[in-house]
Amino acid sequence: MSGMNGAGAAVPADARERRVSTGGIELCVVELGETDRPTVVLVHGYPDSKEVWSEVAERLATRFHVVLYDVRGHGRSTAPQPLRGGFTLEKLTDDFLAVADAVSPDRPVHLVGHDWGSVQGWEFATVGRTEGRIASFTSMSGPSLDHFGHWIKKRMTRPTPRAAAQLLGQGAKSWYVYMLHTPVLPELAWRGPLGKRWPAMLQRIEKVPAGSYPTASLPSDAAHGAWLYRDNVRPRLRRPRPDAYAHVPVQLITPTGDAFLSERLYDGLEQWAPDLLRRTLPAKHWVPRTRPDQLAAWITEFVTDREEPATRAPEQKAPGKYADRFGGQLVLVTGAASGIGRATAFAFAEAGARVVAVDRDAEGAARTADMARLVGAAEAWAECVDVSDEQAMEKLAAKVATEYGIVDVLVNNAGIGLSGSFLDTTAEDWKKVLDVNLWGVIHGCRIFGKQMAERGQGGHIVNTASAAAYLPSRTLPAYSTSKAAVLMLSECLRAELASRSIGVSAICPGIVNTNITSTSRFAGVDEAEEKRRQERSSRLYGLRNFPPEKVADAILRAVVRNEAVVPVTPESKGALWMSRFAPRALRRIARLEPKL
């Protein structure tokens, strides 16, 4: 079977195949994993077959009894005769119940659906006759047609500008639905040129990894599947069921880059699904192919929580603002024993992430990890590493990869301060500041970025630059140089990694109340004077009193929105503005020597 790179689509060799008859057709059902484990049923979408799940199924099979089946008319299941009227949601519900009864007659199953599989899943989770047969439902990229009908009705009856914009937005994204309602033409296209070009289009536009997916049955799957739309969309949107309430817990995974479904579709979904857990994923439509690790992790967590409700303490829920986005993700923060790094670790912890706190101050890092667990981190570890030490970083990366997994978000934050005129700064001083501020970031990006790219499932790198990166001054030549390099490195890396869905952000905090001032080196002065200046600058930074927590919030926001350069404090924003529009004024100011 395929490895991590997602080259293959075939169902694993140890899979057990069987055929289930229902309503005059035969469904091809495949089972993986041990049958005494909780059963997870994966339902595929359009135009797909069960092989769309192969990567996810393989990952889930170690923990669960995984069941995949080809929807009628798709893959190796037979098609109803005639096709018209053979694909109604009622008949698809019959199919699901037949499969569930065959694979798990005594226990309810956990349902997972993608695209049309999710549309079906919503039907299964909201009709009365499936009650007691479903334990949970994970939905991705497929709304309930009934909810969608109500969503449209609500916006049609009160077309405020916002409602109208949402209607038009989703209306434009649904172009293919109108096309599929034309007779014969879709079938001709799929069995002709579109069917041939589709795999290449998926790779180019949707970034689906190359391999044997989609399978050879694609043209007939797509041609038959057109009846899913024709049999259901118009009747359901015209007369949505008024009682489409989910009777099971629902996990909603929303890809933010989905070209076919607007995120707004799920506004107010709590009304229909009272027990709802939201997740968002920065990815395009075909998440089972592009993000199998993340999906498997979220499905595992959700199913396990429902199977063992006793182990689930209510206060364990992460309360943070971006819990839907970072829940369960692995976040590594360097310089995490104090200041911005520590606040960032806590902010990610609050969003339910798994946090690795790295610092050369072992005690401080341990404290950060300890407190991170307290505020909601699923797990947290401390690692004592000097970021400027390449070998130590290599070792750290190897350890993290084997013990905790591939890092989803990397925050290269460790940095030291160095003040003093250029002529007073020794080569030793230069080396020290560049080693940590620049080489630390390079090592981090190179080693962890490589792991991220090799996994091929996206990620994000945040580098802490500084307002000093674009703010010349006569007092911070070395520090500013190191940070300017970090800023440019981030910009270049962003360009390079964009094609691999890895975002890169540079954060330019400005004057923030952290202990960087009290550990800064002041070149060209004796020890007593250095200590005095450290105290004095700490006091001034204290008076400015901009909390590192706000920088941490900016970092999380930058990751969520994939922002390139993020100035944080007002002075940092002002300086960025001036560096663009009034650079001469900035150069003038750079000549002033601040009194410390």
Partner: protein
Amino acid sequence: MAGDTRQRTARRLSARPDADLAGFREVQRLSYECAEAVAAQLRPGVTEREAARMQREWLRERGVRDWFHLPFAWFGDRTAFANFRIPLQFFPTNRKLEPGMPFILDMAPVYKGYSADIGYSGSLGLNPVQDRLMADLQAHRVLILEQVREGRSLREIYENVERLMTRQGYANRHRAYPFGVIAHKIDRVKERRWSPTAFGFGTQSLKGLASDVLHGHREGWSPLWSPYHFSDHPPQPGLWAVEPHLGFRGTGAKFEEILVVTDSRDPEESAFWLDDDLPHVRRWAEEKAA
């Protein structure tokens, strides 16, 4: 054991020779009793205003007629003074208490002419974050006493406390108090038949504090323990209500109790906590025993 020496010490308090530690201890205990009684009555849905009124009534019933300041109550993220911009935000609001929420009760009654100022932190049900904050406050109580005995300046101690907070991973939230004080002097208050309050503060006590500020200004000391230049001197002998306040991501915790400072040369007697039998001190002892 230390009772006798401390009685004598009390007489030696140079700022107010008539200050009677027993009187201060009595009102401080009464206040903590009030805090514990009110905390035990808090239920989901009780508002800050109601909690403040409960403290006021409890103390009035027991003979309190005047205040250094009227009781405060903060619930939820207001315990960490989240987004406090103006002093009016300290006053109790209609925020309702919910299960698991942290709360702080803060009151400063005047009883038989003695004033106290206390702060009591707790939570409705379990709150592991606040538990941790409370446990970590112990180091601050030790540090403050140690450094006062070493004769360090208020400003320096303030900065050292802040440094310890930062190392622990917390934000200094007493910075949000007026003048950013970690402590202020308190004193005896003349009992009058009419004791009005202004902006929540008793006018008699304010008068006393104002006169201290004036005297101090002339003599180069301050009754306010702040991070600013005017606190760059060792503490003036007398009674200081010390209130280190930790904040951590929407959860706050503090204690507030009286530190006695004398002009004795003996370090043991130069400064000591007025009372070691207080809820938070007992709690640390229990934790240590467990």
